[in-house]
Symmetry: D2
C-alpha cells in the first residue's frame, strides 16, 4: 500500500520541527511538502531551518524546498503548526480546497463543528465532520488537537470520567519552555526563576476538557458538566509539563479503584493499533517522587501520559500528579495520532 502524502504548514518552527522529526519515518504518511513563511520560501529546509531538536535533522528533508502556506501543495493532508494568529484563515483555505487538515493551532478549537480531539478520549466526535462539511461546504475537513496541558489532563481524566464521573478538577501546571516555541522564553526569565503566568493558558485548560469530555449527540457536542480551575506556570524545564491535580469524583471510589481505572485504560487507538498510539496511554508509577520531567517524558515514545502520587486530598478527595511530553503527544504527535485515526476511519480514502 502506498503511503499517504502529507505536508507540514509552519515547518521551520518548534512544533513544525517535531512534525518533521516524527513524520520522517512514518509507516502510513509520506512527508512530501514543507511550507513556511515568506522569508523561508524557496530555500532548502536545511538552509532555512535552524534545527533545534536533540536528534539530527532527518537527511530526507534537508534538501526539500520550502513552499508558501497556500493550498497548492501536492499532498492529501496537511499538519498545521501555524501560529494562532494566521492559522485560522490558512487552514480554512486548505479545507476549502479539499485538503484534510490536522491542526495543532488553537484557532478552531472552540468552533462547534470542528472536532477537538484526543483519539483515546473522544473519537466519536469525528461524527462532527459530516456536519462540518455540510455547514461549511468544504470538500476537505479540519480536526484539531487541544492545548498541550489539556491533552495530558484529559488523558488522565478520561478513565475516571468513564468509571466514576467527575465533578470538579483543580490543576496547577509547571510547564516546559518548549511550549512557548523558539526563541520563546528568554533565558533571563527562567534561570533561577519561575514565570507564574502563561498568556491565555489557564482559560484553555479550564474550557477545552469540557468539550473533549462532552457528549456528541449527533448534532453537536454538549460541554461536559465539569468545573475546572487552573494555575499555569513556566519553569526551567526543556520538555514536558507537570500537573498537580486534585479532583472530586461523582461517585465514591477507593484509591485502588481509581488506580485500577487508570492502569487498565485502553481505547480505540490501542484497539486499532494506530502506529503512534502507545501500548498503554496512561502509565501509573508508584514511587513516591515520580513522574519527573527528565526521567518520564519519553514514556511511550513521548505519547503516553504518566500519572503518579495518587493519594487522598482533604478538599477534593483525590490528589495525583500528571506528566506528559508537550511537543510530542501535546502537539505534533497528537495531531499525527488524530490523522492516523482519520485514516483508519476512512476519512483519507
Amino acid at each position: 500500500m502506498s503511503r499517504i502524502k502529507v505536508g507540514v504548514l509552519g515547518a521551520t518552527g518548534m512544533v513544525g520541527q517535531r512534525f518533521v522529526q516524527l513524520l520522517a519515518a512514518h509507516p502510513w504518511f509520506e512527508l512530501v511538502a514543507l511550507a513556511a513563511s515568506d522569508r523561508s520560501v524557496g530555500q532548502s529546509y536545511g538552509d532555512a531551518c535552524r534545527w533545534i531538536l536533540d536528534t539530527p535533522m532527518p537527511e530526507s528533508v534537508r534538501g526539500m524546498v520550502i513552499q508558501p502556506c497556500q493550498p497548492a501543495l501536492e499532498c492529501r493532508l496537511v499538519f498545521s503548526a501555524l501560529p494562532a494568529d494566521i492559522a485560522g484563515s490558512v487552514e480554512e483555505a486548505f479545507a476549502l480546497t479539499g485538503y484534510v487538515v490536522s491542526s495543532n493551532a488553537s484557532s478552531h478549537r472552540c468552533a462547534p463543528d470542528v472536532p477537538l480531539m484526543v483519539p483515546e478520549v473522544n473519537p466519536d466526535h469525528l461524527g462532527l465532520l459530516p456536519l462540518q462539511r455540510q455547514r461549511r461546504g468544504w470538500p476537505g475537513l479540519l480536526v484539531t488537537n487541544p492545548n498541550c496541558s489539556t491533552t495530558h489532563l484529559v488523558l488522565a481524566l478520561k478513565p475516571l470520567w468513564e468509571a466514576f464521573g467527575l465533578r470538579r478538577v483543580f490543576v496547577t501546571t509547571m510547564q516546559a519552555v518548549s511550549g512557548a516555541g523558539y526563541p520563546g522564553v528568554p533565558s533571563l526569565d527562567i534561570l533561577d526563576n519561575i514565570l507564574p503566568y502563561i498568556a491565555g493558558e489557564e482559560e484553555k485548560v479550564e474550557w477545552e476538557p469540557r468539550k473533549l469530555l462532552g457528549r456528541f449527540d449527533g448534532e453537536g457536542v454538549e460541554l461536559a458538566d465539569l468545573q475546572l480551575s487552573a494555575h499555569c506556570n513556566r519553569v526551567a524545564v526543556t520538555d514536558s509539563h507537570v500537573e498537580c491535580i486534585s479532583l472530586e469524583l461523582a461517585r465514591p471510589a477507593s484509591l485502588d479503584q481509581v488506580r485500577d481505572a487508570l492502569v487498565s485504560f485502553r481505547a480505540l487507538p490501542q484497539e486499532l493499533g494506530l502506529p503512534s498510539a502507545p501500548p498503554r496511554p496512561v502509565l501509573v508509577r508508584r514511587e513516591p517522587d515520580r513522574p519527573q520531567p527528565r526521567r518520564d517524558r519519553m514514556a511511550g515514545g513521548g505519547m503516553a501520559t504518566v500519572v503518579g502520587r495518587l493519594r487522598p486530598c482533604p478538599l477534593m478527595g483525590y490528589k495525583l500528579i500528571v506528566l506528559g511530553h508537550n511537543t510530542v503527544r501535546g502537539a505534533a504527535g497528537g495531531a499525527i495520532l488524530n490523522a492516523e485515526l482519520l485514516s483508519a476511519q476512512g476519512y483519507l480514502d
Copy 2:
C-alpha cells in the same frame, strides 16, 4: 543599652549560616556563641564551616570557636537551626537550663504549649508561655516558627482571615532547593527536572496554618476551622518558594476588597518597629507575571511576602500567587523576628 547575648545551635548548616549572616550586625542581639555537631567542635567557624551563602562570611565570626550543642553557652537566648531528629531533646535541655529558645526546627511545632508563631499573625499566642513554664517547669522558654511554605502562606492569609474569614485553601508550592539544606538536593535530580514530592511537607502545610490562625483562649490554642490541601514540589530555583493559591472566603468580597485587605495589612511588629520587621509585611504586585523568585525574593530584605495575580477562581472564588524567601523570613529571619517580639514583650528581661 547593651545588646542581648545570643547563640546559634547548628551554626554550620544552611539555615545556621543564615542566622549568622542576619545576626552579624543586629541592633538588639550580639552573636557570641556558635554551636554545632561534634566533628566541628573546637574548630574556628572559618575553618569548620563551608560557607555557601552569596555574601561573604562576616569577619566577626570567622575566628569564633565552635562549641558543643549543650546548655553551657554564655548567652541568654539560642536560635536553633538543628535538624528535626535531634532538635527536640537539645532544645528542651536548653529551656530546662534557663535559656530562651527560638527554634526553626519542626520538633515542637505541634506541642500544645509551644507557640508556633509568626509575629504578624498570632503574637497573642505568646500567652502560652506562662502555661508552658508552669507545665514543664522550665526556667527558660521555647517558641518556634513554622515551615517555610507555611510562613508565607499564613502571612498572605492572615489579612483575609481577619477581614472576610476563610473556609478552604488550595495551595501548590514550587519550592527552592535551599529548603532542603546543604548538600540537599542532588543536581542530577533538579537540572531540567522537577521533584513532585517533598517528604513531610504537605502534612505541615495542611496543619500548621490551622494552629497559627487558631484562637488562643487563655488556656490553649483552638485550631482554626479551615480546610487546606497542599501539593509540594521542588524546582530548579536557589531561593524562595512560589505558592499558587485558590481560596474560598467565608464572607463574599470583591477582588478590590481582597486586594485592599492585603495592601493595607500592618501588624504588631510594624507597630513596635521590630528591627527585622519589613515596613509592609505583604506586598501586592499588579503586573500579570509577578511575583518571580529571582526578582522578588529580596523584597523587604527577604522578610516580606509578595502577592500577585489576584483573580477569580471558578472553583473557590479567588486565585493568587504568593512568594517569599524560604531561608530568610521562612527560616532564620522568622526565628529572629520571633526573638525580637519576645524581647519587645519583656520575655528577655
Copy 3:
C-alpha cells in the same frame, strides 16, 4: 556642590537598566534624561520599560518621560547603552554637539583617538582627548569601556603586566546570558546546554587588551606587544563571566610574587576615591574552588575582579581563574567609573 546632570541613551535595555539602577542614587551624577528608541519615546519609563533587574525600578525614574536619542537632552554627559549598529553615529552626534559621551558600545573602541579605558588600567589614555577634539573638531568628547570579558581580564593582567611583563595569554570564557541582553539567549539554547560560540567575542578579547595595556606616547596608543588567544562560551548563568586563564610572564616570578602583585594592586581610582571604585580592584581568593558566579559576582558591589586558583601551568607558567560581573563593572558600572574619572580630572568642568 550640585550634581552633574546626566542622561542614558538606550535606557530601556538590559545595560540601560543597569545604568539607571546604578545612577539612581549617585553622589556626583544626577540622572535627568532617559532616551530610547522611537517606540518608547513619549511614554513614561515605568510604562515603556519591562524592568528585568533583581532590585525594583527606582521610584525616581518611574515617571520620567522617554526622549529620542538625539542631542537635545538637558544634561552635560550621556551614557550610551546603544546597540553597536546605531551607537556609532548617535554618539558622534552627541559629541559634536558638546556632550561628554561615556559609551559602553563597541563602535568606537578601535578608533585611534578614542580612549578605550578602564580607570585602574590606563587612565593616562585620557591624554588622547585633546587629540580627539583637535582631529574631530568636537566640543564634546567620547570615551569607551571595553567588552565585559576584556574588562575583568585586563584588571587581572594589569598588575602582572606592571610587575613582570606578559608575553602570551590564553583565555577560555564561560559567560553569563545577561551579556547577550534581553530577550537575548533563548532558554531552549541554554537549559542543560552550552553555546560554544559568541559572535565577535573572541576577536574583541584578543584585541582590546592590547590597546588597554598599550603605551600612550603623547600622540597615540601603541598596541601592547602581547599575544592573546580566546575561546568564548555562553553558559547557564544569569550574571558574571568566568575566565580560565593561562599566561606567560616576561620575567620569571614565584606564585607568591604573582599573588602579591594581584593582592597589593591599587590604582588611580582608589587614590582619587572615585565613588564607584572598589577599595580593592582585584580580590584574590585562596579556596580551591573559588571564585564562583553566584557567590562572588557582587564582590566590591559588582565592581571588583575576583581571582582564584593561582597555580602553575605546564605550558605557560601560570594558571588562574578570573571572575567579574559583566553588566556592573563589565558594562554600566565601568562606563560610570570612566565618567567619574573624567569628572575628577576636570573634563566635566
Copy 4:
C-alpha cells in the same frame, strides 16, 4: 554462539547503572551478576537501586539479587564501576582469581603493565597483557579506560597525532554533573553557578593522553612527547563534557587538512565491527555554534566524539571544540568497547 557471561561491580551507582543499561540487550555479553556494597547485598536490584537514568530500568535486571564485590560471581568478565578508593584491591582480587576485568576506575591507569585503552586510539597496547600476566602471575587480566574528559580528548587528538604530530595541547573543560556521580554535585553549588575546580581532574587530563598516545615497544609504553595543560570546570549540564582546545601541530597543515584527518578517521573497532563502536568515531560539525551538549551528546549512540569550530589559534595554530558523552563513551560505554575488543582479539576465549 552463546553470549559471554558478565557482571558489574558497583552496579547501583551512576556509572554502574549505565553499565546495566548498555548491557541489558548486548549481542555478545549476557549480564548475569550484579555486585555492590554491603548495604545492598541480598536485595533485588529493583529494590536496592535508586535508578536515576532517563530510560526505565531494564525489566531483566529488576529481580536480580545483588552479590558482594568478591570473586565468586558466576561470569567470565567483570566491569568495574567501583569508586577509586576500593577499586584497586577488589579488581586485583578478581584478576587474581581468573576474571577478565574491564575497569572504569582510575586506580590502575598509571600502572605500567595495565593497558589504559581507547580501542580507536591504542589497541596495540593490549600487547601489555602477556607482560601483565607474567609479572603479576594473574590467570585473569585487567584493562582500564581513561577519565571521561581524556577519552574524548584523545579521540579527537589521535587522527591529528597520526597525520601531523602534536607538540602542545591546551584544554579547558566544561563538565557535566553526572561525572561526579550521584548524589554528587549539590544543586546549590551549580544552579546559576560554575564550579571552577574538579579534584584531581586536571592532573588526569594532563597525563593520561600521554600514555594513550604512547608507543608500545614490546616491553612497555613510552609516554608520548606531548605537553598538555588543562583547566577543568563543572557546569549546569546533566550529561556530556565540552572541551575548548588549542593545539600546536608538529608538522604544518591547513585547516582543511586538519578537518579531513578528523572526518576520515576510522580505526580497528570500525574495521572489526565491534557492536558498540560508532560507524564514525569522530564527527565534525560545520555550524558556527556546535557541538552543544543537549543536541550532540547522543551522536553515535553516545559513543562518538563530536568536533566543531575548527579555526586558527593565534598562539597555537588551531582551535577546536570537542564534545562527548561522559558516562556512555566516557565511562561505561568505553569499558564495554574495551571488552568487545578483548573478545574480538581472543582474550575471552
